[in-house]
């Protein structure tokens, strides 16, 4: 069993692709970060391994992107932790209804001829990458919060990563893609904190760009100068008194 799971036969079969599809669907259907975050991580780990085993991307790049996605999910996890309770605004329909819509999309995707659409990818991989893209677009269109959108964008980028690295094996593409992954996760994590209005009153997160709320009105410059002069005078007095003031 174990030798099958870690062998080439398993990775070249359709089972891991099916698993990837199910996990991607789960990540955008279930609006609970405790399920969506691990599901997205497993999507990356599985599709990265499938691509490596099928010779689409080098092993080291697969590992690099696995770590990049781990980093992205940690960034989102930290924000989700801080901004609890998780916002549920903008929920579109029930999970069954969303599942039905996604299933319909999957059916349409399966019925379209996708031969040679994505260069160098076989039919199965093309469908898997496009399914990830469909899940991402579905997640973006049904999710209103930064977490749902962030996860959907990560799914989009995971699909793009496989399609692009297969056709453009250049280090610059790896670096740019990695930067996009991390910056999108950072931006979504920042917006995730910003969308929780109660957060500033309860426990403002330690960040400098910039919470809580707006920049406070600054005192006029002359008032600031007077304040600085007083501070300076105070410092001079202390220096004159030494360590043991009388």
């Amino acid at each position: 069993m174990i030798s099958f799971l870690f062998g080439t036969d398993f990775w070249s079969s359709s089972t891991p692709l099916l698993l990837i599809g199910l996990l991607a669907g789960l990540a955008v259907l279930v609006w609970d970060w405790r399920i969506s975050l691990p599901a997205t991580l497993f999507v990356q780990l599985l599709i990265g391994q499938v691509a490596v085993q099928r010779g689409l991307i080098p092993d080291e790049w697969g590992r690099v992107f696995a770590w990049v996605v781990v980093g992205c999910l940690l960034i989102l996890f930290l924000s989700a932790q801080q901004s609890a309770p998780v916002t549920t605004n903008g929920r579109v329909g029930t999970i069954m209804f969303r599942g039905l819509l996604l299933g319909l999309g999957g059916f349409l995707l399966n019925s379209v001829d996708l031969t040679n659409l994505l260069p160098l990818l076989d039919s199965q991989m093309t469908r898997t990458v496009l399914w990830l893209a469909l899940c991402a677009i579905f997640g973006i269109s049904t999710g209103e919060g930064a977490l749902q959108n962030g996860l959907a964008l990560l799914l989009w980028l995971i699909g793009a990563e496989i399609a692009l690295l297969a056709v453009t094996p250049a280090a610059v593409v790896v670096v740019v893609l990695g930067a996009v992954f991390l910056l999108v996760a950072l931006a979504c994590a920042y917006l995730l904190l910003a969308e929780n209005l109660a957060l500033a009153e309860n426990s403002p997160p330690i960040t400098d760009v910039v919470f809580p709320a707006d920049t406070p009105p600054q005192p006029p410059l002359n008032e600031k100068l007077v304040e600085w002069r007083l501070r300076l005078t105070d410092l001079v007095l202390r220096a004159q008194q030494g360590d043991n003031p009388r």
Partner: protein, 471 residues
Amino acid sequence: MILPFPLVLPFGLLLLALIAYLFRRMERIVSGLAGLITGVLALWLLGDASTEGVVQILGRLVQVDMQATIVRFDLTFHLTPTAVPFLGLTLLLTAAALLLNGLAGQGRSFPPFALALACGYCLLLLLTDAPINPLLLTPALLAVLTALGVYALQAGRLGGTLGPLRSLLPPLIAFPLFILASWHIDSLSINPQDTLAGVAAARFLGVGLLLLLAPVPLHSAGPALAENSPPIAVAFLLLLYQLACLTLLLRLTALFPFIGENFALSLWLTGAGLLTAVWGGVAAAGSSHPGRLWGYALLHDWGLILLMLAAPGNSGAALVIFLFGLRILSTLASAVGLANLRQAAGSLEPSPMRGIGRALPWSTSAYLLGGLGLAGFPLSAGFTGHWAALQTVAQTDWRVAAIVLIASGGIVVGFVRLIRILYDPRSLPTYNPEPLPNTLVALAAILVVSGAALSPQTFSGFVSWMMMAFG
């Protein structure tokens, strides 16, 4: 000491960004100073002195090697003559945004992020060679810059995250298509007879360009940003992004003529432009929120530019540049006015703004004049551009021109309704009088847009200069 220009410019801007971040608590002073430095840099670059590369810093003459080439990580950076106008325009926009931020603060995070973004856009313009065609790498770098822009757009506010979130979508969705197209273009260069590769590349590029340009229904970031985000930050980021997109489109269609042959880009642009212009007008007619109305006016104007991109030949490109030049003026003028109103009222919600026009007449006028300019209202900056564009469209199909004209009427209706709110005589004046510096800047904005309205021929130099940059 000889300094290479492709290193000096980005590092200089990054250094400024770092200093602006360190002194962020003195946001306005730092922003003003950074704006002055960036403005001087832009004028130096656009002037004759830059060709010799001699610059005086703190009394010392420093030689800058303008022809230097820097190669890092397989990326080649070099200043080409065609990049100079775009670099100058990018730096001038940055300087204007930073100087205006000095008057009406857009959030402590704005100056460092604006400078970092300017650095990123300059690097985009200086990039001349990469493992894949630099033009096809541009959308991926735009995605990076858009992700950085989120912080300036959110500006430390709580709530209202929809605009910054949606602004991420167009470049993120579009950029993989350009890299996929590069593979087909490489195949085409190996075998020029491979028609399938040409068709596939044209489709990827065409769809990618349409996504990047964010017409309706991908427009939703614009009005959402205009509703909640600081106006000057919105204007700055929107103009830089759209300038990059327009440049990319004009350069790609010139470099790869097969896009037009294998993908009906003109047809798609006409449809998308018309839909965008009409949606902007219709939505504006029903909007009474000053920020959202501004967003819809911007959308309508953008729709007209997209419509003009479909016009064939050099005259279409010249008109696009002319329209974009007028768009810069109208957008900045309305952003100045709106930023002052936001500062006085505390938010852009319409109810606290009732009667504000009587307390802040100059800022309100700048906002209205700039906003109406985006609709091509007579005696506003956008009038000549819109009129010329409508004439061009009418030569092909008068019905399209009539529809756009009716849509621009929707924006005028929206502004007329807003004027009744802003100058409501029944409300009690609760605002302090307009501060003198803000009055002066609003007045300057009014003079500039009025000047552009009265003598649009002053733009002919700008248009021919930019046309030369497109080759």
